[in-house]
Amino acid sequence: MNEYELQIATLQNLIKNYTTFQTLADTTRDPQHARLAQDALNTLNNVRLSLGFDAEMREVFYSQINVSTIQKTISFSSNDIAYIIKQGIAYLENGVTLSMINQGAKKKTITREPVAWQQLFATQQGLALGQQTVFPLPEALRFNENQALQISIANQTQAGFLFLHGCNLKANLENVTRRDLEREFKTEKGETIYLPETQLVPIAYQFPSNVIGTYATAPNGDENIFSAKNGRSVLLTHVSTTATNCRIDSLTDTGKNQTLAQKCEVTGIAADYNNAFTTWHPLPYPHLLWRGDRLKLVMMNGSPMQADQVTAADVTQYLCFKGITL
């Protein structure tokens, strides 16, 4: 469990406290019970505010690195601003080892000796063995704008893939203030409008043909594929999919004009909804989808990772996010 999942579990626990003590206060008219309820409500509003701020300070990204049979050293950097790599998924051979260095003006060694990739990354879901849930790196790796992550790979004899999950760090909160976030769930008088609830944000699409490289359309045939609009802002925390043999060409939050993923295999991002071990992959950090904003998906059929297998045509598929209303 990573830190924000623990925060959300805390939020759920506080909602249980608040609802129980509020009912108790209503039946007993005891000010002590009312105080317990109010304490729980204040704390849970602070937790959701802190989750909201944290999400607004970060721009979540998913990055796919293709490991060729020739190239053995890869350099990764993100948008020339400070960033964090939190977790990753790998599709590499069993005996492959990795060395990682923070490559800046001054080298910082991350792995002193080459280590098995399984020590650092989760395995791509669907393989028979190994960890199949995304787990965070031993420590989130933070890079300044002038630093890159250099990964050296040994013993890989065929094409492989690495998926890095992380976030860019915004220098400051531009147009968002505490007031904007608070107005989502509090009135001007400070009354709480609603409690956080679990929300699904699915994106439905289908492929017109099962030929590799075919672009998906919305189920109604529209070329643009959007998630439905939400009446409340949602903190997206997990993602799952019904189709694993396809590739995200781009996934964008249209409200923020922020690209979350580009040219990335679905299995490097989302869990298979029907898998043995987990049906949800956690996002590296929560993404705040503001009220009324939509996610836009461009999806391509076929997965080179799965020996060019394709997803069936004319069947509605979903890339589904799960989260909580802020």
Binding site: K16, L24, L195, S240, A276
Partner: protein, 302 residues
């Protein structure tokens, strides 16, 4: 889940808060059943309804649709919504059908190692209020091949805030004795090795405790010989029922075979186990040629 907030390093204040919540609420499990007929064709839809007569907070949804998929090849998609509020409990377009795994976790009955093709991890949602007088409706839609006869089921686990509870002098004294002591985890268990209807009692000692969750260890590893059982739980002293209608045991506790599986399903909220109180577990068991199972209840001294 409550396991994250119940451990032996709790402070006195945290312990009192959890205790106060346990006394003023009760866990509850409500089942919605769908009897799927043999030979039902693709796109057959089934609906089920649950009437709610007290404010009910849903904290997790347990289902068996992946097991049906695994056993029969029939895939169902699911939607769950609250009738009068007119909204899906997942806050997504009211009656839109989605794969059940997006909305529920699997109540795992099938313990055969090689057959684990679905997730059995307990997942909790933010408590979702179904107001007194409202009802919850669920619909499933057969997407796949012709259905074989199957019993589709979702169980909505959650809690009722019960308001003020009466504590007698002896209970209060016992709570104070427990609070003066260190919190400790203790399990209670019994073995079910007889078929048919039978009641099992778990008796508390003089300490006030909180019930955290349940676990089941089957005494068989052969899937064909796994016992199945319907369970109803009643608290004698507090006169509360965890469920009104008997529910298969896998909705209360996961089947335990190997270490990488989930072992315990935790309750939506801690249940207060009064000193010298007894819990009655009414079971209707079918041994299926096997030796039965061991049922374990995990508790913490308040």
């Amino acid at each position: 889940m409550i396991n994250l907030f119940n451990h032996t390093q709790l402070t006195q204040d945290e312990r009192r808060l959890i205790l106060a919540r346990a006394i003023a609420s009760q866990p509850y499990f409500a089942a919605l059943d769908f009897e799927v007929l043999a030979g039902a064709s693709k796109d057959s839809q089934y609906k089920a309804k649950l009437e709610v007569d007290k404010n009910f907070y849903i904290t997790d949804v347990r289902a068996n649709f992946n097991e049906i998929l695994n056993e029969t090849g029939t895939e169902f998609w699911l939607s769950i919504w609250q009738s009068y509020a007119g909204e899906s409990i997942h806050k997504y377009q009211r009656t839109e059908l989605l794969p059940p795994s997006f909305q529920s976790f699997e109540a795992r009955f099938n313990i055969a190692f090689a057959s684990q093709v679905y997730c059995d991890l307990q997942q909790e949602i933010c408590p979702y209020l179904v107001k007194k007088g409202n009802s919850v409706l669920a619909q499933i839609d057969n997407l796949g091949v012709k259905a074989q006869e199957a019993s589709g089921r979702i169980v909505l686990a959650g809690y009722y805030p019960t308001g003020k509870a009466y504590l007698d002098e002896r209970t209060t004294q016992s709570i104070n004795e427990s609070l003066a002591d260190e919190p400790s985890i203790e399990t209670f268990s019994f073995t079910v090795d007889e078929a048919g209807q039978k009641s099992y009692i778990l008796q508390n000692d003089r300490y006030a405790r909180l019930i955290l969750g349940f676990s089941v260890t089957d005494l068989e590893t052969n899937k064909a010989n796994l016992a199945s059982s319907l369970l109803k739980i009643t608290d004698f002293a507090r006169k509360i029922k965890f469920n009104d209608v008997p529910i298969p045991i896998e909705y209360f506790a996961p089947r335990l075979t190997c270490l990488r599986d989930t072992h315990i399903y935790y309750l939506p909220v801690e249940a207060f186990f009064e000193p010298l109180n007894a819990l009655r577990f009414e079971m209707d068991t079918d041994l299926n040629g096997g030796a039965g199972f061991e049922f374990t209840m995990v508790t913490r001294k308040v």
